[in-house]
């Protein structure tokens, strides 16, 4: 099977049995935004705006490079944005503008 076929046939999260390093017993207390992101995922699922299975599928659709490089909750929030665009709940431009506003709001507060 050639490489381009294999990229589609094996999702980037499907790693059971693949070679991997020794286990490092890592953990960290969630950042406040990470916990909010987790709560957002639950609330989106409660309302079936984005259900859990859609969230999984959306993370997979980010592709192997992003799945490998982004942190756990970075993958989640990026996925929520894309799915909300797909469902026409948000528009890409709308989110971009709001992100600029949020960033500006916080930079004003700080020196």
């Amino acid at each position: 099977m050639n490489h381009s076929e294999e990229l589609l046939r094996r999702l980037p999260n499907d790693i059971g049995g693949l070679p991997a390093e020794a286990i490092r017993r890592t953990d960290h207390p969630l950042e406040p935004w990470e916990k909010r992101c987790h709560a957002l995922a639950d609330v989106l699922d409660f309302h079936k705006i984005i259900n859990t299975e859609e969230k999984r599928r959306g993370v997979e659709a980010l592709g192997a490079e992003m799945v490998g490089a982004l942190t756990y909750y970075e993958r989640w929030i990026a996925t929520f944005a894309v799915i909300l665009f797909q469902k026409r709940i948000l528009a890409p431009d709308e989110l971009a503008k709001r992100m600029d506003e949020v960033a500006a709001r916080h930079s004003k507060v700080l020196p």
Binding site: D14, G16, W33, R36, Y73, M99, V102, V109
Partner: protein, 226 residues
Amino acid sequence: MSTHPHPHDHSHEVTHDHTPCADASEAPPGYYEVMEIAVRELLIEKQLIGPGEIRRQIEVLDSRSPALGAKVVARAWVDPDFRARLLTNGRKACEDFGISFYDDTELIVLENTETCHNLIVCTLCSCYPRPVLGLPPDWYKAKPYRARAVKEPRAVLAEFGTVIPADVEIRVSDSTAQVRFLVLPRRPAGTDGWSEEALAALVTRDAMIGVVTLDSQPLTESDGEA
């Protein structure tokens, strides 16, 4: 953020004060945090989610931790009827015990015995019995554990300092669907007559994932209670 009272009766006044983060002393939010704030604000403005829902769900998440699972395990150790119900229908028994399941998951409780040791993993993502144990540790979500637990569980267990005798079956449960798993560890020897509370204090998160056993816990007389 969930500690300060925060009136949300002005539900149509938009959002900025709903941001449960970032007082001025903190560093400016990073790119992904900005995205999280922006998405949340827009969803609240469009009234797709209520302004208090995120805060409430954070309180729900904060109320779930391994201490809760430990209480379930201790009860199962001292109450044969509860243990039987727990093994028959984990979710129902936990709900009867007072633990709500805020998601659509089911729970199978896997009992470790003299002849069988259970280990749980989610190779495809990070499925975990969150209503009972809270959120999983990072290593549970990372590649080494997910990739190897189903292929060389004994080597993985050894890295946690756990050696299971060769004549004991290892049973690895890989979560893929709506079912979550909780391991019911073996009750440590020398704990006869201990109170439920003292027993619960012995039960660790890792034992309920199945990567350690409690047999090796150092037991002292003073851990027990009269």
